[in-house]
């Protein structure tokens, strides 16, 4: 198992290189000129040219990529061209916000989605099943930014129950952290909860019909053992898979929702970096997110062996 994990991590290296290269080249297609931004509005063309040379932007794209990649190999993600701060530092300051938000959204997705899927899947065709189907369709159809707007209007502005903007680190005040998380967490988690509920429903509906579940009943096991142990563990692989896919969806939704709730996370950083064509920052964010996604996928693959013992023999 450990060997498998190491092999998987090694194959992640070329993948990261490819992602880094792809993102780097895409950045060159974005219109705009970072040198002009830095030089200021009233700068002469000569001044802009000088800044460009200083930043090494006059080299070919490949040379620039090589320079950046060389730094990364030494653990240096470079310095933001705009803010003149180390990219690692900027990401470090903001990662906590985004990780909090995505984790909270995932928590909502799992805590709502799995029970809803269970209720629907255990009795397919019943009114509870139809209700869940309607709600999941709704949840998937509603975009996160729209839901965020509605939540802000209703709970922050009209009812004044929760803050409309801002972020409080959990280390500073856990209660205020929770308050600041609820609305954005709901906004990005709703679609994921719907997706998890759907997948759980079909996995559970398939599993309850299996012979071994009937055996559990024939042996007199209590419903909570039959469902909680035998049905859930055998439905685990599709549920964990869909939950892991939510991490990517939530990261995407977080970019927008962070802006709406004025949360200083990676989303804000990314949008401003892309606008300014701040290559080192964009690259840093892309790599960070890629690493998170790769790690999540690895954990999920390792969990498959727990759910299905047949996969343990290699």
């Amino acid at each position: 198992m450990a060997g498998y994990a190491v092999r998987r991590l090694l194959t992640a290296v070329p993948l990261l290189a490819l992602i880094g290269f792809g993102a780097f080249m895409l950045t060159f297609m974005i219109p705009g000129d970072v040198a002009a931004t830095i030089a200021g509005e009233s700068a002469t063309p000569q001044r802009i040219e000088e800044v460009r040379r200083q930043l090494g932007l006059d080299d070919s794209a490949l040379t620039q990529f090589g320079r950046w990649a060389g730094g990364v190999l030494q653990g240096d993600l470079g310095t933001s061209m705009i803010h003149r701060i180390a990219v690692t530092q900027m990401i470090g300051e903001r990662l906590g916000v985004t990780v909090s938000l995505v984790a909270f959204g995932l928590l909502i997705a799992v805590l709502v989605g799995v029970p809803a899927g269970l209720v629907a899947g255990l009795r397919p065709g019943r009114w509870t099943d139809r209700l869940v189907t309607v709600l999941t369709t709704l949840g998937l159809a509603v975009p996160a930014f729209w839901l965020a707007t509605i939540l802000i209007i209703v709970f922050a502005i009209n009812l004044g129950m929760l803050p409309a903007t801002g972020f409080v680190p959990i280390t500073e005040n856990p209660l205020r952290w929770l308050e600041s998380m609820i609305l954005p967490g709901l906004a990005i988690g709703a679609a994921s909860a719907a997706d998890v509920a759907r997948q759980s429903r079909s996995a559970v509906a398939e599993t309850v019909g299996r012979d071994h579940v009937r055996t559990s009943r024939a042996m007199g096991l209590r419903p909570r053992s039959v469902v909680g142990r035998h049905v859930l563990k055998n439905s685990g692989i599709p549920i964990v898979t869909v939950a892991s896919l939510q991490v990517e969806r939530l990261l995407g939704a977080a970019v927008v929702v962070e802006l709406m709730f004025a949360m200083p996370g990676l989303g804000q950083l990314t949008v401003s970096a892309v606008r300014a064509r701040d290559i080192p920052t964009i690259q840093g964010v892309v790599l960070t997110i890629a690493v998170v996604v790769i790690l999540v996928n690895l954990l999920v693959d390792l969990s498959y062996a727990w759910f299905n013992p047949r996969l343990r023999k290699r």
Partner: protein, 338 residues
């Protein structure tokens, strides 16, 4: 129908089914798939429940533990008596406490009937912990003993195996170990050997026989007359959802009282005689929504007469036997010598 030769108190029925009727939702509406089923299981005896596919034997077996796929299948009337408890009417919670403890079941497909995600020790231990309140360690030790009891070699090693690491025969032994872990009074075995090799079949059936030594009653659902003749004490023959004949196996085989039983016996190829064509019963079982009002076998019966158009009841014939045939008294049906 008490057997006069055996009047010990321990020979009180382990389980009695009286007038069981089960309906199914079909495209033709709700129709009865099991009707007026009576049978008695006795301690220490194996009762064979025989019949063609669709005769209602598996549904009858499942109904005992109330494992029918509701609401498609539903018990309409009748009693299933375990002592003085009517399993058909017991509240769910009480029924669950009896399942696996006093009435248990093994199934046809061991490979799909064991949960693939747990070790066999966990699966057997779970039953012990549920009903006997054992802790994890005691349950594991007892699981090893049970694996040994059902003839699994190296039980201390096998207890940590997952079902997929065992052969079909071994899986069926594990399922049997789970089912008998709490020493039930009654075991329903639904075609337990159909999915297994012939040599393994005999081993499993001998295992079931040895388990009856402590007084467990077994209902062995099967369509295999060879299995019945070899391994059962009593026989119940079902046709189109009804019991048509019951009695001690040897007596019924030697002199069947119902033309359907006789037809089944005639259809078994014998090595004693050379035949041009294997005998069959002409026609097929009528579907549940097209059953005649009288004898359900009438259309296929070589002895059919006008009297057979009237409804027939299951009638005690003495000697622990009963049959559902209006002409039983006048017919002299051929059995098989043993």
């Amino acid at each position: 129908m008490p057997d006069p030769a055996n009047t010990e108190p321990s020979n009180a029925p382990a389980l009695t089914i009286e007038g069981l009727r089960i309906s199914a939702a079909t495209e033709h509406g709700r129709v009865d798939v099991v009707d007026d089923v009576h049978l008695t299981l006795r301690p220490g005896r194996i009762t064979g429940l025989a019949g063609e596919s669709g005769s209602g034997k598996t549904v009858t077996g499942l109904a005992v533990l109330r494992l029918l796929a509701e609401p498609t299948l539903r018990v309409e009337s009748g009693r299933i008596l375990l002592g003085d408890l009517d399993l058909a009417r017991l509240p769910r919670g009480e029924l669950r406490a009896l399942r696996g403890r006093r009435v248990s079941m093994v199934f046809q497909e061991p490979m799909t009937s064991l949960d693939p995600a747990f070790t066999v020790g966990t699966l057997i231990g779970e039953v012990l912990r549920r009903h006997l309140g054992m802790d994890r360690r005691a349950a594991r030790e007892r699981a090893v003993e049970l694996l040994d009891r059902v003839g699994i070699p190296e039980p201390e090693k096998r207890v940590d195996s997952f079902p997929f690491q065992l052969s079909g025969g071994m899986q069926q032994r594990v399922l049997i170990a789970m089912a008998v872990a709490c020493g039930p009074d009654v075991l329903i075995a639904d075609e337990p050997t159909t999915a297994l090799d012939v040599t393994v079949q005999a081993q499993i059936l001998r295992l079931l026989r040895s388990l009856t030594d402590d007084g467990m009653a077994v209902l062995l659902v099967t369509h295999d007359l060879g299995v019945l003749a070899e391994h059962c004490d009593d026989l119940v023959v079902m046709y189109a959802g009804q019991v048509v004949e019951t009695g001690p196996v040897d007596d019924v085989l030697a002199a069947p009282a119902h033309p359907y039983t006789a037809g089944l016996l005639a259809a078994v190829p014998s090595t004693a005689r050379r035949v041009e064509r294997l005998a069959t019963i002409p026609g097929t079982v009528p579907p549940p929504h097209l059953l005649p009002a009288g004898c359900r076998f009438v259309a296929r019966c070589p002895h059919a007469a006008p009297v057979c158009e009237e409804p027939v009841t299951l009638e005690d014939a003495g000697g622990g036997r009963s049959r559902r045939c209006a002409r039983a008294a006048e017919l002299d049906l051929e059995g098989v010598g043993r």
